[in-house]
């Protein structure tokens, strides 16, 4: 049959389990040995005492004959009565008859050691030549009492020492070992439960103190590592946000670039379409006067007897076709120069009213031929502007030609000029012609626009009027080259108004002052 042994789990219990048996194993034999030797000493002392008693009696009887001195022997024995351990004493002659074997002296008197054999006894020859034998019987009761007292005292001391050792060990263990361990355990549990790490105080220089110090260092390293991780995380988060912003920017830029690319692509496609249209238009526009020139030339060559008047008409047609070709070529060259930034303005002071009048006179015949009324409202006072005279004339002729061309018979074209409040010079060419659809206002300002559908490569076939379509774009480019602008306002029911603006600095000061004075007068 076996009994389950419950092993102690606490360190204190284990410590005491080792310490207490060790204490018992050492203390009980040690104190037992002490008691044993103490009793030995007591026994030796008792033996020495009675040996001394016997020796003194023997010495007295050696010096004095007990038979010669009556009462001597009894007095000697009676002197021993003071010793509590003495049970009895007798002095007997050794060589006497049985009758004479009666004690010479006895203690208690006349009784001696007649009764019983209790206790220890000492028998030794005494007197001169050993005539007597001294018998001393003594009790070891005092030894037993002393043994009992010392045994009880030893047990008490052992018990007390055991309790004190137990209490001291427990208290010492709890303070020296238990307290640091409890602090350590509490810190570990707190760190596990809450993640909060705190430094443990109270570590000494012993092994547990070093363990606590090591734990504190470990905690500190953990905290530093966590802080570093947090900092890295923060940086990572900031980097991520920056990357997100960068991505957004990038996407935005990509979108912008994509849109820009799409626009440029559209522009490139438009340019391609314009080029195709230009080639087609130019082929047509060049072929028409060339065909006329060639045709009239062939007729003149074939018919040698042609009437002089008809010959003159044919020659005039040939010359007109050449002029038309020359104008077209000049427009193309001007447009190419402006696009290439190679057109230089030859600026001179020009009186605006005169320039307007000359241009109007140049197209009046054409307008009248179409049944149009053409009106000019020059500036109230002469305005001297610093412009390229050829460029200004080109602008005015292009605008007037367009107005005459796109205004049906019976229509009205009017040219006005003047200064605006901000000092800029303003020239307006207005007609009540067919107008331009709003969605085509931008297209007509592009080369070869002429109000047709720009997406069509066969636009020239759809063009209702002949011409290269360079008029308005060239006028606009020349106006902008002068630092001014050209804008259109048109509707298909109210005709078209073209507004050309020249910056104020193009107005000559003296002329401006003169005009101001004239205005005030």
């Amino acid at each position: 049959m076996s009994f389950p042994i419950r092993r102690p789990r606490g360190l204190l219990a284990r410590f005491l389990l080792i310490l207490m048996p060790l204490f018992v194993a050492l203390a009980i034999p040690g104190i037992g040995l002490l008691v044993h030797y103490s009793l030995e000493v007591d026994q030796d002392v008792l033996a020495a005492r009675f040996g001394n008693h016997a020796g003194r009696v023997a010495a007295a009887l050696a010096r004095h004959d007990a038979a010669a001195v009556p009462g001597l022997a009894q007095d000697l024995l009676s002197s021993l009565a003071a010793d509590r351990a003495l049970v009895c004493a007798e002095l007997r002659p050794l060589d006497g008859t049985p009758a004479q074997d009666a004690p010479v002296a006895a203690l208690p008197p006349r009784i001696g050691c007649r009764f019983g054999e209790q206790g220890e006894s000492l028998s030794l020859p005494v007197g001169e030549s050993g005539r007597y034998r001294l018998l001393l019987r003594f009790s070891d009761a005092e030894l037993r009492e002393a043994a009992a007292v010392e045994r009880n005292l030893a047990l008490s001391v052992i018990a007390l020492a055991f309790v004190i050792a137990l209490a001291t060990s427990a208290l010492g263990f709890r303070f020296i070992v238990g307290r640091p361990l409890r602090l350590l355990l509490a810190a570990i549990e707190e760190a596990t439960a809450t993640g909060r790490r705190r430094r443990i105080r109270g570590g000494g220089r012993d092994e547990l103190g070093r363990v606590i110090e090591a734990f504190n260092e470990l905690q500190q390293r953990d905290v530093e590592r966590e802080n570093a991780l947090r900092a890295v995380n923060r940086q990572l988060e900031e980097s991520r946000q920056a990357l997100r912003r960068l991505n957004a920017d990038l996407e935005e830029r990509v979108a912008e670039r994509t849109a820009e690319l799409a626009t440029r692509t559209e522009e490139a496609e438009a340019a391609n379409r314009a080029k195709a249209r230009f080639l087609a238009t130019m082929s047509h526009e060049l072929r028409t006067p060339l065909s006329a020139i060639i045709g009239f030339a062939e007729v003149l060559g074939r018919d040698a007897v042609l009437e002089p008047a008809r010959r003159a008409d044919y020659l005039e047609e040939i010359a007109a076709g050449g002029r038309q070709l020359l104008g077209m070529v000049n427009d193309l060259l001007d447009m190419a120069r402006i696009d290439g930034g190679r057109l230089q303005l030859d600026e001179q002071e020009v009186e605006l009213g005169e320039a307007l009048g000359a241009s109007v006179r140049q197209v009046r015949a054409q307008a009248e031929a179409r049944g149009l009324s053409l009106a000019l409202q020059p500036p109230p006072a002469p305005l001297s502007v610093l412009v390229d005279p050829r460029g200004l004339r080109q602008i005015l002729l292009k605008l007037l030609s367009n107005a005459v061309k796109f205004t049906p018979p019976g229509g009205h074209v009017e040219v006005t000029a003047g200064r605006r409040a901000d000092g800029a010079v303003e020239i307006v060419v207005a007609d009540d012609g067919c107008g331009i659809a709003e969605e085509q206002l931008d297209a007509v300002l592009q080369p070869f626009g002429q109000g047709g559908d720009g997406s069509r490569t066969d636009g020239w076939l759809a063009r209702p009027h002949e011409g290269t379509g360079l008029g308005l774009p060239l006028a606009k480019a020349l106006a902008e080259l002068h630092g001014g602008s050209l804008s259109l306002r048109s509707s298909q029911t109210q005709g078209t108004t073209v507004l050309v603006t020249l910056p104020a600095w193009r107005l000559r000061p003296l002329e401006a002052e003169a005009s101001a004075l004239a205005d005030s007068a």
């Binding site: 080792i18 034999p29 000493v41 040996g51 016997a54 010495a59 220890e120």
Partner: protein, 140 residues
């Protein structure tokens, strides 16, 4: 986590017992004497001392001084030493100058009693040397 045990419990107990035994070994008596025998030994020494006492003075011959000295007996030592079959008891005296003089008595068993066969004056160091050599032990 493995637990490191420096000394096992049975080994610790055995070491304690061995240590205790080794400490107690030199103190173990050689031979047990009864109380009566001890008393007889003390009485034999007392008788010897009394026999050599003349008018209260214990006489002995000082070889170095070549003179007879008289000592006053003071006290007998309770401790009894054994040396094989023989015994050693001690007695303290005072000389005329009041200085302590130690005498050691060597006794042998004779019949029912004991008899002094040698006395050594002021030679306690010899006894101590024999005790350290294990030749002389306290009697139980």
């Amino acid at each position: 986590m493995s637990r490191v045990r420096i000394v096992s419990r049975p080994a610790l107990l055995a070491a304690t017992l061995v240590l205790g035994a080794s400490l107690l070994a030199p103190l173990s008596p050689a031979r047990a004497l009864s109380l009566s025998e001890k008393t007889a030994l003390q009485a034999a020494m007392q008788q010897h001392v009394d026999r050599q006492t003349v008018e209260g003075g214990y006489l002995f011959f000082d070889r170095e001084a070549q003179a007879v000295n008289s000592l006053a007996p003071v006290a007998a030592h309770p401790m009894i030493l054994t040396m094989g079959e023989h015994y050693i008891l001690c007695f303290d005296f005072l000389d005329q100058a009041g200085e302590k003089v130690e005498l050691d008595y060597y006794l042998a068993r004779k019949g029912d009693g004991f008899v002094v066969f040698h006395e050594a004056i002021a030679q306690r160091d010899v006894v101590r040397a024999m005790m350290q050599a294990g030749k002389v032990k306290p009697a139980e």
